[in-house]
Subunit: 230 residues, 2 copies
């Protein structure tokens, strides 16, 4: 049994939920408000960030990159065709490159900014940075979403899935970040048909269903969030 | 033969040089000024960042995290006792956690800020962000160095090396970032004896020598930079 310390709109947490969903592994979710810096949580992850995966008999697994590698080593390897990483080191390069692209670059330039401004700041005290969202930050992040969406479309036109022929961590990372900001209506799907068609395929997977039912009181989901045929 | 597209003061590039040095692998260095966004370099790494490792017959390996995992899979595994990652998934968690701590967190909060302000900005055009260093950024980064140094000291008091009994990627990552800013005189060694003693041990390894002979015209190294008994 896995326990995930997460936030429903943390894009990295969403990625881990998708991975565990694809592998059919049972998961208990514990919502963590990382900005509160709860002491017992800092013991699990001194960096103080979600997600943290807790597995019986093993030290806590902190951070999205460490969790992805750990799960590949202990579960992925037994999954045969359903493994979310290729088995050859050369093919793993591209999957890891794109996983880092979305989990680091897209996160910093877009998804984390939008989720922080529009969601986290509602729950933060003023001294932790809470308050009304910054329209400047939101505008800059939305500009960045457009070029990331174009990059996804460019990849999706050339490949069946983002890193090649098969579904991998790269697709789940991209889709996890997009899903968090799609809830907020911040993805201009109309600008890229190839990206939209790729996302529709990933979004219709059973592993995606739990994400689509995460709703936040006071922040309604965008019109097309749960729509598989958006 | 490996080719590394790097910058002599890029902490991530230094980490890869240390890893290849520990494994005794031959390396050709190509200096890349990432901020110039050279087109052929962007083909190797669309994210436009150093380091990128080029290996014959394999796609380019871009980014410090992807390179670390790739090298462990193709070289580390054959190195026996000299492998820089533990072999069990549970022990790998702590090494990867600390590798991310230094390569992501320390980089963002300290080493990248100091290297950018004090070195890269000298070579950048004004439109790329060049110009005189920002004293505010430098002050903030130096404050962050102090708490990272204390964390290294805390680990070094409890363990032989940062992630446990043996030298791992965690030590080389921490030492790589420290070495770049130690050149600039930005590490207050006097504040932490345990951190200093650990760094003296890592710095005296043969893999470190090429780093200590990287000097930059117009920016003299700090008094103790090359001193093994600082």
């Amino acid at each position: 049994m896995y326990t995930l310390y997460h936030h429903p709109f943390c894009p990295h947490s969403r990625f881990v939920r998708l991975v565990l969903g694809e592998y059919g592994l049972d998961l208990r979710l514990v919502e963590e408000r990382a900005w509160e810096r709860r002491e017992a949580f800092l013991v699990l992850n001194p960096a103080g960030t979600t997600p943290v995966l807790s597995v019986e008999g093993v030290p806590a697994v902190p951070g999205v990159g460490v969790i992805a590698e750990y799960l590949d080593e202990v579960c992925g390897i037994e999954m045969g065709d359903r493994r979310l990483m290729p088995s050859s080191p050369a093919e793993r390069i591209e999957v890891r490159r794109l996983m880092a692209w979305f989990n680091d670059k897209f996160f910093e330039e877009a998804s984390n900014l939008l989720v922080t401004e529009r969601i986290y700041k509602r729950f933060m005290n003023e001294e932790d940075g809470g308050g009304p969202p910054s329209t400047d930050v939101i505008r800059a992040a939305k500009t960045n979403v457009r070029y990331h969406l174009a990059y996804i479309g460019w990849l999706a036109q050339r490949r069946n899935f983002l890193a090649g022929d098969r579904l991998t961590y790269a697709d789940l990372a991209a889709a996890a970040h997009l899903s968090a900001i799609d809830y907020l209506g911040d993805v201009p799907w109309i600008e890229d048909d190839a990206a939209k068609a790729w996302y529709a395929r990933v979004k219709s997977r059973p592993s995606f269903r739990p994400l689509l039912s995460d709703w936040l009181a006071g922040v309604p989901a965008s019109r097309t969030y749960v729509d598989l045929d958006f």
